[in-house]
Symmetry: C2
Subunit: 282 residues, 2 copies
């Protein structure tokens, strides 16, 4: 995302909690901040992409080293992490008290879409901030949708990932029936294409599913984190989501089985030996 | 399906367990048989489309009145019902003993696709039978795939419907999060389009989901029947399918709540009041 901003001519100061990804930017002469607070000092716009609530709270809201400590009035804060709507709303209020506008702007798409600049941003927060941020979204992605007030972007992202996880469950179970019956999984994916049984995971994970190799574009352990956030949200909303409860448990099982760093499509592995037919008694 | 065959110039004799759908055919001068056995007597090809295992077993395999009683050697028997692979294989053996070839050829698509002649047939049985049947499939649909030996068509269909049901579960839970959060479900369906969260039910049931009206293209009670067959198959194969177990229970609950004759998209109704936000305490 930073590389795409750079390529479009934006002047950047970068920061990362681990230093390894910073080397490339140093080589390009990009300024590297020693802390989020230092990076925020002169910034017109702050963009964050981090792994979880704790990281976002520390980098944006940390009292000494966080961006909040030095943010200037009028600064636009864009968090593209997938975090709880609750955290987003709390941070948003803190930035607003400093005269800054915060947007929650998580993305659909994972590493390959970020690299290719074809992410879609789901944006929550004030309309004014969304309009200011739009050129940046379109420098990092191909689409940005204003979905509601602060927290709405996160909410839509959690709903999106709940569906993605359940789509993956659908694929895993459909393929399990077919493979255990000794039929051709590739032909099966062709048969379902275009109908009510098809889904975005069957399409985007096709090669991984058919080869049984799961290099991570989106790691199972990150899906577990998102499903936990979605579960918390479902309790706050008071809406029973039994599918979410099940698929969250199954992803936890996949992680316990050592698939945490596999792609989310590795959920297939908990269904056991998948080639050929069998009685399942083994 | 019969109307499409007629329109393509095939000479038909028709039979239906209830007489109402036969009136139209009588008016067109189409011969109406008084029993499956009578209809099968002179037939080169027998095509059946029935609601469940009991109906297929009676109409095709019934000892006195069933097609098996009068079928001629060389006759091609095509059953497009969604039934258990086990029943298909048993009937197939009985027809083979009479010199007839039976294919299991269930379809993807429901009433609208049948009417428009755009069904896809998933065909199990001998290659020879598949090749003979292909022109008929293409008169009733737009695609026919030979997926394996006897029972393979049914197996693929049950895997397909397991996925379709789980896709519907995904849609219902994603929409529940969004609607209970007070956000726009229509925009949500636009946001997810094209990504890993999208699926065939979100697309094909869009209008039903957004209006909350569920006139049946594929009734929930028929989905329950199919999920029961898929569950039986999963036990025969020895493959644990927790998603299937859950979604089968949820569809049973929907039927208990009076949604059995609603479209499968009516699963959404078991998630409670869906417009606006709420604490869910009510």
């Amino acid at each position: 995302m930073a590389k795409n901003l750079l390529a479009k001519g934006y002047a950047l100061t970068v920061y990362n909690r681990s230093s390894k990804p910073l080397a490339w930017f140093r080589e390009q002469g990009v300024e590297v901040a020693s802390s989020p607070a230092e990076g925020a000092k002169e910034a017109d716009v702050i963009v964050t992409m981090l792994s979880d609530d704790a990281a976002v709270d520390a980098v944006l809201g940390g009292e000494d080293e966080g961006c909040l400590a030095t943010v200037r009035p009028g600064t636009l804060v864009i968090d593209s992490s997938t975090v709880s709507p609750e955290l987003v709303r709390a941070l948003s209020r803190k930035f607003a008290a400093r005269g800054a506008i915060m947007l929650d702007a998580p993305v659909t798409g994972s590493a390959p879409q970020a690299r290719d600049g074809i992410l879609t941003f789901m944006v929550g927060g004030p309309e004014e901030g969304f309009l200011r941020a739009r050129p940046l979204f379109l420098a990092m992605g191909r689409n940005a949708l204003h979905v509601g007030p602060s927290g709405a972007g996160s909410t839509v992202k959690l709903a999106n990932n709940t569906m993605a996880a359940l789509n993956m469950l659908a694929v895993a179970e459909g393929l399990s029936i077919v493979q255990r019956s000794g039929l051709d999984p590739e032909q099966f994916l062709d048969v379902i294409a275009g109908g009510g049984a098809n889904n975005g995971m069957a399409v985007s994970k096709r090669e991984k599913l058919l080869t049984g190799r799961f290099p991570p574009d989106f790691a199972a352990r990150l899906m577990v984190k998102d499903l936990r956030l979605a579960t918390n949200l479902s309790w706050e909303l008071g809406v029973p989501l039994p599918g979410l409860a099940l698929v969250a448990s199954l992803y936890q099982m996949a992680c316990q089985m050592g698939e945490g760093d596999s792609d989310v499509a590795g959920l297939l592995k908990i269904y056991g030996k998948l080639s050929g037919s069998g009685t399942g008694e083994a």
